[in-house]
């Protein structure tokens, strides 16, 4: 994962680029990620800060009960009110961000650790290796992740660990397929041939060159997968299969059907909105990172196209 660290800024950050006037960093950010991407990023950053600094930010102990405050509405004591047993909803949301983010983070990390090497292997060697890996991916891809997770929970009992393990397996093809396709494109580039002729080994070429060049695609897809995993884990927690009840977790909080039946919607709506916003932001940001920008045909990119191409839509320098 360390090689990926430099990537998100890569498309924009070219301080040494000659002939390009230095623009305000904000404008450059906007050019790369767009307004929606920046908003998504800011939101996710805020959630991350919430999770990391939860003990500092939460106004109260998330597990402190006070039956007097049962279903209390928003007030200065409880900004978002309290749940059925009088726990502060805002504090539970703040602490809940920890478990809600930890699960998907684990799922994506494990999937990447397993998927990237497999994908690079398949792309580099092609032929039988590629075919075998592709078949295995197809097989796993055919199984819905949630079903796999339910199966794991049935075997090992409810809890975050079996759910995360099962989802990690299920998410490998989702990530690895994209990585393989992107790596394959690089693999067939003459620059990879040139490196091979220079005597560089497979590992060095794939990790130092190919992986570095496809990092935006990997990161983008990882962000999207993170959103899906968050949703899946929230669903499992909602069903009582992943995170267990006393721990604060957004999925668990949404499952508070008791509150709904009594007509108190805030304890359920607040975590629900957070889940939706997180997934949405991750998807938007993921697409932006991997370079899916609304394409403008008007944009001129100097030297971006080969001289031999004549597609009428190319944004080639200037004629010729």
């Amino acid at each position: 994962m360390t090689t990926l660290a430099a990537a998100p800024g890569a498309p924009a950050g070219t301080p040494t680029a000659p002939g390009r006037t230095a623009r305000a960093p904000l404008a450059r950010l906007r050019r790369t990620f767009g307004i929606s991407g920046i908003l998504a990023g800011v939101f996710l950053l805020a959630v991350l800060v919430l999770a990391v600094a939860a003990p500092l930010l939460a106004p109260a102990d998330p597990n402190a009960q006070s039956l007097l405050d049962s279903y209390a509405g928003p007030s200065s004591a409880h900004l978002l009110g309290a749940d059925g047993i009088g726990r502060d909803i805002l504090s539970r949301l703040v602490f809940g961000s920890r478990t809600s983010l930890l699960g998907p983070a684990l799922v994506v990390s494990i999937s990447l650790l397993v998927g990237i090497p497999l994908a690079l292997l398949a792309a580099w060697y092609g032929g039988l290796v590629d075919a075998t890996v592709a078949r295995v991916f197809d097989l796993v891809y055919a199984l819905p992740g949630l079903l796999l997770a339910v199966l794991a929970v049935a075997l090992f009992g409810p809890g975050l660990t079996p759910a995360v393990a099962a989802l990690s397996i299920a998410y490998v093809p989702f990530l690895a397929r994209i990585v393989r396709a992107a790596a394959l494109q690089q693999r067939n580039s003459p620059y990879v041939d040139a490196l091979a002729v220079q005597g560089f080994g497979v590992v060095r070429i794939t990790v130092r060159h190919i992986l570095r060049n496809i990092a935006p695609v990997v990161l983008g897809q990882a962000a999207i997968a993170f959103g899906y995993a968050l949703l899946d884990l929230a669903s499992l927690s909602y069903l009582g299969l992943a995170v267990q009840a006393p721990t604060s977790d957004w999925g668990v909080m949404v499952s508070d059907s008791d509150a709904l039946m009594k007509g108190y919607w805030l304890p359920v709506l607040a975590p629900g909105v957070l889940i939706v916003l997180c997934v949405l932001s991750l998807t938007v940001l993921g697409a932006r990172i991997s370079g899916e920008r609304p394409q403008s045909y008007l944009r001129l990119r100097r030297g971006a196209t080969k001289r031999s191409t004549t597609k009428p839509s190319t944004t080639k320098g200037a004629g010729a």
């Binding site: 008007l298 944009r299 031999s308 004549t310 009428p312 320098g317 200037a318 004629g319 010729a320």
Partner: protein, 358 residues
């Protein structure tokens, strides 16, 4: 049908005040295509960039004109402007007149008719411009059937006849084939056939043979040239290969950084090129007949119109550069029977003549 191209021998017709024009061709017909002061700016992220800067050109009916330049010279942009196929957001100044009609003022139906019967385009990569999922026959007859109301059977007969004319054997069988079954050279002939079927008055050929092998290039160029002459069609032939342009065209315009820097009769250009850039191009090309000790390479790289300063765009690469070249923009002016855009052309050549005679 061997009527040699009428007019066409007069490079000065491009200028409104061309004095030699009157003497050389007193009864010149109205030009088929006339560009005057054509300037194109393309929209980019932060504003717009000039790609063409005041192009003046005219083409007589039946004339073949070569448009030669390196990357960024704007030669492809010129034909795109002629067909009104510029990218969105492009700002166009100056006029493009086809048979006297302003192309940029054409209405929708007029434009369609102009693109259908007025001009035909041949591209560098025919594979990218022919729908791979449809048979050659469908590609060739579509325009006839849809736009002209020709019957299917007649359209196919005509398509087969034209395929035979461009040197494709068993044309009936080819009509039933798909593009991937044909080689690049064959496909380029199909592209030429499709243009011929529409019988346009003007052919715009954009690097039509660059992707082909030399032996195929010779055949394709030969076919194009013969049919063009037989049918009296005008042609703008775009290429980076000066020698090829000289062989195919009567008159050649050399472009640099979105401007025309020299226009001259093909035969003259190769003997008496005047602009330092044209001379540089001729000197850059290695000869097949002998090995040069060193090629007379032009330093630097070709620039686009938007990269050039207020003066002569070639100034930074020119051996004869003077302060005036960087400050003042030279105009396209008559010189030794052609047109040259250079402040110092007379000076340079008189000095060389002196050296030669000394």
């Amino acid at each position: 049908m061997t009527s040699s191209s009428p007019g066409g021998s007069d490079p000065l017709r491009a200028t409104p005040d061309g004095t030699a024009a009157a003497t050389a061709h007193p009864a010149t017909a109205a030009p088929l295509l006339e560009l005057s002061g054509l300037t194109v700016r393309l929209a980019v992220e932060d504003g717009s960039r000039a790609v063409l800067d005041g192009i003046d050109l005219s083409l007589a009916p039946g004339e073949a004109l070569g448009l030669v330049g390196e990357s960024g010279s704007g030669k492809s942009m010129t034909v795109r402007a002629v067909t009104r196929l510029l990218p969105g957001g492009a700002e166009v100044d100056g006029t493009v007149r086809f048979e006297g009609q302003d192309v940029n003022a054409m209405s929708g139906p007029e434009l369609r008719a102009y693109r259908d019967r007025g001009v035909g385009m041949i591209f560098q990569d025919p594979r990218a411009h022919i729908n791979p999922t449809r048979r050659i026959g469908a590609f060739l007859t579509e325009a006839l059937i849809r736009n002209r109301g020709t019957g299917r059977r007649e359209a196919e007969a005509r398509a087969a006849a034209v395929l035979a004319e461009v040197g494709i054997d068993s044309p009936e069988r080819r009509l039933r084939q798909y593009p991937h079954e044909l080689s690049g050279g064959m496909l380029q002939r199909v592209m030429i056939a499709s243009v011929l079927l529409a019988e346009p008055r003007l052919i715009l050929a954009d690097e039509p043979t660059t992707a082909l092998d030399v032996t195929i290039q010779a055949e394709v160029v030969g076919i194009l040239d013969r049919l063009r002459r037989e049918r009296g069609m005008g042609m703008v032939f775009i290429t980076h290969d000066l020698d090829l342009a000289l062989a195919v065209c009567r008159r050649v315009a050399v472009m640099y950084a979105g401007r025309i820097v020299e226009v001259r009769e093909a035969e003259e250009l190769h003997r008496r090129a005047a602009h330092p850039y044209t001379l540089g191009l001729l000197g850059s090309r290695p000869s097949i007949d002998e090995r040069a000790d060193r090629l007379d390479a032009i330093p630097g790289r070709p620039v686009s119109a938007f990269e050039s300063g207020p003066g002569c765009a070639f100034a930074d690469r020119c051996a004869h550069v003077q302060p005036v070249c960087r400050e003042e923009r030279p105009e396209l002016e008559p010189f030794q029977g052609g047109l040259v855009r250079c402040h110092r052309v007379a000076e340079i050549h008189s000095r060389q003549d002196q050296e030669a005679s000394a």
